[in-house]
Symmetry: C2
Subunit: 466 residues, 2 copies
């Protein structure tokens, strides 16, 4: 069975076995069973533990061989030393993939055990994810195959991460910021499966809109380059490649024994293969959430719409920094805007409707920009006023965007919100309505839109055969 | 009376008059009285309104002249057109400063009124803050002279901001992130007082540790340069100068009629005068909170302490990017660390105590680094584990740092926390203990520490007379 077919079974399993399932709360083998069940997985769950009759109310098996069904995925939470033997058993049972959560391999210097695992897995024809990982999530099937926490917020971002610590941070950040994901996959020591394999799966996964990668090093750069080149034409790929610097590379070597490699090579490879390179963890998410939610713009004309001149200045600076093109507002559009905006507002770009504007001004001017086919993308810079409070603004904007989408206008819209802490709720509401929104940090809204532009340019360039 | 003396009265008033106080909730003149009272201001508050007997239970006066006491500050919330006449009255009453909240001046094209205000204020010997501002806060005296919301979180950051919209964002961000401030001052159109005046006041203000400026343009660059040069030797100044780019400058011109000027001139001026330049609003705060909390490091030796190798890699990259020097761990320190860290941990820098470490390992290894005089600063990269949960880590770290401070060791410590949303509480707790902490965003912890290093280097350079 080829890798892609194995991954299809991994993400769409009918039956999962947990080797090393435990009755003891706090143990990894307990948490995995609990999370599968409580996370809402609809398939069959088979705990395996020779010293238990049932776990979490489910019948427990003495060994994988005793399970009276085809198993699609086995999750291993047993001591590292017996993992190779377990993988042999999986091979006999024709289980196509082992999710090796257990640590105690190359990361603690046990290189021999690492190679033994690889050899035995190859002979047994069992694919290996890990070892030394937290497991994986796949939200379309409510699948929480991990000892962490159940994850419920569905969305279009698929993530892989090499480090458990960073992975935990990713899970926390996405939960706290209500950023929906399709999948989060720990790669750990990458004894077998790596980023390239998951790129191939996510490329054809209907629930994934954008692929985000955290990586410390690549085993096979050539293969990654080839696969990424194809995938990035279909779906945006954002990568946070760490170990960029001398100090970071040294740390990566002692962490996952990764060869961080010459960073210029990665830089060139990402460029060639159409991978967007994030510099920080926050960039990775701030970009990914825009890429997951918005369709590519039809052209370069960006308009900033604001109720606060000061925000307009910051947003303009950020557009320049990011290479976004502020459109000159055409005379006839200006005249239409003047019907709603007081004469001391600004009709250049940024369009400044002024701070004292009532909700109707926000709504009607937003509608004018949404409906004008010359405007390709809009950045809203809202600031809180008594006359148009945050939720009133959010509601008006969501309505205008929704109307436009209903009529087939899908131009990208992002929002930056400034004001007291209530704006956080308004931003969350806008996110739910499919409008990427950023409280307090105007530069992030622009960076998100810029990532969408970068990807759009990359794909149109490659389509042109350049 | 010179400007500094006027500002001393503005920030330490015994009596405040509100011209245009209102009985009507929702009106600016109502909110200002309400915020002064509910904010906890201990001095006398005198509402002035010819059409009211009392406001908020306080006797109301027909005009400023009738108040039977010396007034230190007058807050003006009356229509722009009558402001010049009111300022004349203030002069007769010898009120040294008018806080002109009202808008309707140069920002709406009323340049004549703008100049009239300046002329009359000069003749009347009344200093003017604004017009077109939200007011000001000074937390040491629970002074909320603004129509926004009462502000309670005290701390060492003094902020000035030119834009009301950005100011609102600043107030919201600092509240939401529990970043304490000493003062927040709106500058608006800067008809009279500007950044330079406030630099002079905050330089000698015992409650202010760091000064943060949001500016669109300077009226008198030469004066700013001279004053900033002196002040920055005493206290760190961080500036977010917006309108950096062509588009931003154009927007600034139409917003506050600011001449944004050639950005290279600002860049050079900031460098010459020891002002740290932030690029984004978030930088401004992330840096300021470190500068407000921590004493300068004694030397360049930075150590990263982490429980997650992956975080160590990201932190190492960030240190390199920011020009921080990762110390080589001396042999004897390594030997001491080995007593607590398993052999598969890392004893180089980052020091990786490994993810399975119990609280005692965090605490004892942190103590070793705190007590070692060769270590000048420490970056903690925590990731959440079941064995050492976030609050247990935070508690251990706070204890170690507290002990050391008690014994006179004040080396800078910052923390980056990775994990599920519980880490946000742990970060808040650490902040309260005087340890700048950043959930999810390891790069920010490093950028904060780097700002402290930059300021330390600037001041030591100038002390060396270079």
């Amino acid at each position: 069975m080829n890798r892609l077919d194995v991954l299809k079974r991994m993400f769409n399993p009918n039956a999962i076995a947990i080797i090393g399932a435990s009755r003891e709360p706090g143990k990894v083998g307990f948490s995995v069973v609990k999370n599968l069940i409580e996370g809402g997985f609809k398939g069959r769950v088979y705990p395996v533990n020779p010293r238990a009759d049932e776990i979490f109310g489910i019948k427990c098996y003495q060994g994988i061989g005793e399970i009276p069904e085809t198993i699609d995925v086995a999750i291993l939470c047993v001591p590292a030393a017996i993992i190779p033997r377990i993988v042999e058993d999986l091979g006999k049972k024709r289980v196509p993939i082992a999710i090796v959560i257990s640590s105690g391999f190359a990361e603690v210097g046990k290189n021999e055990l690492h190679h033994k695992l690889i050899d035995i897995a190859k002979r047994a024809q069992v694919r290996v994810l890990g070892p030394n990982i937290f497991g994986y999530y796949y939200t379309p099937h409510d699948l929480c195959a991990t000892f962490c926490i159940p994850y419920t917020k569905k969305g279009g971002i698929a993530l892989t991460c090499q480090s458990g610590g960073v992975g935990m941070g990713i899970i926390g950040y996405t939960r706290s910021h209500e950023i929906g994901v399709s999948a989060i996959v720990g790669l750990g020591n990458k004894a077998d499966l790596d980023e390239s394999d998951f790129l191939e799966f996510f490329a054809q996964d209907e629930f994934t809109k954008v692929i985000a990668l955290h990586m410390e090093g690549l085993k096979d750069g050539e293969r990654f380059l080839q696969i990424a080149k194809n995938v990035s034409k279909k779906k945006p790929i954002v990568a946070l490649k760490v170990g960029r610097t001398t100090g970071g590379a040294r740390a990566a070597a002692s962490h996952t024994a990764s060869l961080a490699g010459d960073d210029r090579l990665y830089e060139a490879a990402f460029k060639q293969s159409g991978v967007l390179r994030a510099r920080t963890l926050e960039d990775l998410f701030d970009w990914a959430k825009v890429l997951a939610k918005l369709s590519p713009p039809k052209g370069d004309n960006v308009v900033i719409h604001t109720g606060a001149g000061g925000l307009g200045v910051i947003l303009s600076d950020a557009c320049y920094d990011q290479g976004l093109n502020l459109m000159d507002i055409p005379q006839d559009l200006e005249e239409q805007l003047r019907e709603y905006i007081p004469p001391f507002g600004s009709f250049r770009n940024p369009v400044d409707i002024t701070g004292a504007s009532p909700p109707i001004t926000y709504e009607e001017t937003a509608r004018l920009l949404m409906n004008d086919t010359r405007v390709d993308s809009i950045i809203f810079g809202y600031w809180q006023t008594v006359i148009t409070p945050p939720m009133v603004f959010a509601d008006a904007l969501a309505r205008v965007v929704d109307e436009a989408r209903y009529r087939g206008i899908s131009k990208p819209v992002v929002a930056s919100l400034s004001g007291d802490s209530e704006i956080e709720n308004a931003a969350r509401y806008l996110e739910k309505q499919g409008i990427p929104s950023y409280p307090y940090a105007p530069e992030k809204a622009v960076a998100g839109l810029a990532a969408l532009y970068k990807w759009t340019r990359l794909t149109s360039t490659s389509e042109n055969g350049r």
